[in-house]
């Protein structure tokens, strides 16, 4: 039974790994192709099946007048906006989540669960309808086409995630911890900062990761709310999508845009493992 399960485990994990990697390999191969290599049927290995070219990659560094799209600035913009919005979301969201987990609120018939639900339900709204009102709102505030305007909108999108994840995690941190700290003479704020927070690092890391991901990959709001001054990475890449889809440059762009988050993935994994070691909540 033991070895059967072990073989099963390794097979399953390997199969899924292949499934995960497959499109990236295809993108890698395609990024070196040109029009003819793509239109004459599926081709795989450079030099064997087709003549490779660096055109797909070069496009990413050229200016549009030369037929490319410069992605360096959008890259940096995306990093800035995503990080700042995530940071604010986690800050405000963790505080709110702690309150919802530990204290009781009552305003009429609205209780804790309802408030939590209010936060989470913001995620249900399809973006398309919020486009015009946000547009008008930012227009009136003079924040269209600015980094700050985008950060504001993203905080609204990301805070619900932070709240939801942290409420879950705080619910699993036993109240005894807080009470121990209180007995030791701390007020609740100190208890929060000194005792509860350190134990919630895994949760905050996960929340941070999700915020970064949803912020980094948003296309829709960046598209509607920016024009020339500010461009985010997804919009810059999609602007490559002309009537003749340039599969090669899109493939290159896809690979390039994934790179930084792989680094983040490593960091997250490390925290998860470490969190486990210090997660013995005693």
């Amino acid at each position: 039974m033991g070895t059967f399960y072990v073989t099963l485990k390794y097979t399953a994990v390997t199969l899924w790994s292949m499934f995960v990697i497959a499109p990236f390999l295809w993108a890698l191969s395609t990024s070196f192709k040109d029009f003819n290599s793509v239109t004459s049927g599926a081709t795989y290995i450079p030099w064997v099946d087709f003549e490779p070219t660096l055109e797909g990659w070069r496009v990413l560094l050229r200016s549009p007048a030369q037929g490319g799209v410069n992605i360096v600035e959008p890259y940096l913009n995306s990093i800035f906006v995503t990080s700042l919005a995530s940071f604010i979301s986690i800050l405000l969201g963790t505080l709110a989540a702690y309150a919802l987990s530990r204290f009781t609120f009552k305003a009429g018939f609205v209780k804790n669960d309802d408030i939590t639900f209010f936060f989470i339900s913001q995620r249900i709204m399809p973006p398309v309808v919020l486009a015009i009102p946000f547009f008008i709102m930012l227009g009136k505030l003079g924040l269209l086409d600015t980094l700050l305007g985008l950060v504001m909108v993203y905080v609204v999108l990301l805070m619900p995630i932070a709240v939801w994840i942290m409420v879950d995690f705080f619910n699993k941190v036993p109240v005894e911890i807080d009470e121990t700290a209180l007995i030791d003479g701390c007020n609740p704020i100190q208890a929060f900062i000194k005792v509860v927070l350190p134990n919630s690092i895994p949760g905050m890391v996960v929340a941070g990761l999700f915020c970064m991901i949803f912020g980094w990959t948003d296309f829709f709001f960046a598209f509607i709310l920016t024009f020339t001054e500010v461009q985010l990475l997804p919009v810059a890449i999609v602007s490559l999508n002309s009537s003749i889809t340039p599969w090669w440059s899109l493939s290159a762009a896809a690979l390039v845009s994934v790179a930084p988050l792989i680094v983040v993935a490593f960091i997250v994994e490390r925290y998860l493992s470490k969190g486990n070691l210090s997660g013995a909540l005693k």
Binding site: F35, G67, G139, L144, I224, T228, S239, S242, S243, I244
Partner: protein, 511 residues
């Protein structure tokens, strides 16, 4: 009329070719126009260099690179160097061009001085656009534009959009098959019919089916009959209309093609359209695998990559096929869209067994200046510069730019033979076909340009797409579309729509 056109185009061409011999100072600075050098005009490089727009800024929303996007950016750079203006260009995928411009317009903002788009946006966005000043309309450069392109960019006689590109639907076919004596014999033997440029959609279908699913050009890959835009997106309805014009546009019946002008009853579920849709459902059998999900890009890849015998929508597939590195360069031909052996007469309620053919004067890329722009003169000068003779000649030679001929002086075969290495016979066929459609045809259909045009087109796309998928029969699908159209007319107001539609019908009937 034809003689006059011939003489004037010959003169222009002669001067173009003559000037080509001169390498002037402008082509040294701007290698893009090295083939022709600068060509004299109000918007030439020379003229622009005399203007000083330093300190002024232009913001342009255009399509993604390279189709139209690259020339926009390139000309922006050139314009900037010549006049000192700062020009910012942003790129947007085709399907979003409209919303990217309209959302700000409707919220009362105008972040763009110039917006690029498709010419059938005209009715919906003209309220936000500045009409082209007479100064530009009267320039020789503009007078050289073919009548149908002026019409498509104007509303009720006023030019609202600036012609910067030409587009049309025409039939493209593989000469190496149709003109091949061996295949001609084979076809005759097996079907009893002539293998020739298809004159009707039925012939098109027969030939496409015959050449579907086997390797007829010996490249080791299977080929198929036809590549068409069937994906349910923003362009598929145009392919459908191209197929229906022959059956439903009767030269003897006036007063509307999409609607009956008087009653505003939709006509799109009439027998002519149903016949066309039936043909189209048949076509799903002779398109490559996945062909039912082909967007324009896929069609270009397919025909341009040598995968099919026929294609019939925009220029791009032909241009792609004639690129220097294309395996099928000089193996393709251009012809008018197929016609039909019978045409429906909606007044008499019967089919007339007479050959009928009509072009669908389809729309294409265009640009316009926002009414709220603070730099209108700079903006118009930019557009004029974009379309000046030197730039235009250079642009049409670069396939990926997506700029296609739209001036009378463009339709001279020698230009293509010399500059792009086309076979003289093909170049002549191309020029003749296009000129005939633009200037010569009398029985034609203009694109629908009424308020809410997207809703109408979307309804057609949904309905025809259901028929292609086999969810509904052609008649049921078009009945559904007609019902949708009735609702849309009711919502927007029959009078409003009639007023707009009348403009298009006038163009169709008064020839």
């Amino acid at each position: 009329m034809k003689k006059m056109i011939k003489i004037s185009t010959l003169t222009v061409t002669a001067s173009l070719l003559a000037v080509a011999a001169q390498a002037d100072k402008w082509s040294d600075q701007f290698p893009h126009i090295k083939n022709t050098g600068d060509i004299a005009g109000e918007c030439s490089y020379e003229s622009m260099s005399k203007k000083d727009y330093s300190g002024q800024k232009l913001t342009i929303n255009t399509h993604a690179v390279p189709v139209i996007g690259e020339p926009t950016a390139l000309h922006a750079e050139q314009f900037s160097k010549l006049t000192g203006a700062e020009v910012n260009v942003i790129h947007t995928p085709a399907g979003d061009l409209y919303s990217k411009a309209m959302v700000p317009f409707q919220a009362g903002q105008a972040p763009y001085d110039i917006v690029f788009g498709f010419s059938n946006f005209i009715r919906d966005w003209k309220q936000y656009l500045q009409p082209v000043p007479a100064k530009y309309v009267n320039m020789r450069q503009m007078q050289d534009v073919t009548q149908s392109h002026i019409d498509v960019n104007s509303w009720d006689g006023e030019m609202i959009q600036f012609p910067i590109d030409g587009d049309r639907h025409y039939l493209k076919y593989r000469k190496d098959v149709i003109d091949n004596p061996e295949y001609q014999a084979k076809y005759k033997a097996e079907t009893g019919n002539e293998l020739r440029v298809p004159q009707t959609w039925k012939e098109y279908g027969e030939m496409a089916s015959f050449f579907n699913g086997w390797d007829w050009d010996n490249d080791g890959e299977l080929e198929y009959g036809s590549a068409e835009v069937m994906k349910k997106d923003d362009l598929m309805f145009a392919a459908f209309f191209s197929r229906s014009v022959a059956y439903a546009k009767n030269p003897r019946v006036k007063g509307g093609y999409f609607f009956d002008l008087e009653s505003m009853e939709p006509l799109i579920n009439g027998p002519g359209f149903v016949e066309a849709l039936t043909d189209w459902v048949e076509a799903t059998k002779y398109v490559p695998p996945g062909g039912i999900n082909f967007g324009l890009g896929d069609e270009i890849n397919s025909f341009g990559g040598g995968q099919t015998l026929f294609s019939f929508s925009w220029d791009d597939a032909f241009v792609a096929a004639m690129q220097d590195d294309s395996p099928i360069k000089n193996k393709v031909g251009a012809a008018p869209l197929p016609g039909s052996d019978r045409v429906w007469n909606r007044s008499s309620g019967a089919w007339e067994n007479e050959y009928n053919q009509a072009p669908y004067i389809v729309w294409g890329w265009t640009a316009a200046v926002a009414k709220a722009s603070k730099n209108q003169d700079v903006a118009f000068d930019y557009l004029c510069f974009f379309a000046n003779d030197a730039n235009h000649q250079a642009d049409i030679a670069i396939g990926r730019f997506g700029v296609n001929p739209f001036k009378k002086s463009d339709f001279v075969p020698e230009l293509y033979v010399e500059r792009q290495g086309w076979d003289p016979e093909i170049a002549k066929q191309y020029a003749d076909t296009l000129m005939e459609m633009e200037e010569g045809s009398t029985n034609r259909v203009f694109p629908l340009r009424v308020p809410g045009v997207f809703q109408f087109n979307s309804a057609i796309a949904t309905a025809t797409s259901k028929a292609l998928a086999g969810q509904l029969s052609p008649q049921e699908a078009l009945d559904e579309a007609a019902a949708d159209w009735k609702k849309i007319v009711k919502r927007i107001g029959a009078d409003t729509i009639r007023e707009a539609y009348a403009v298009g019908v006038a163009l169709e009937d008064n020839l």
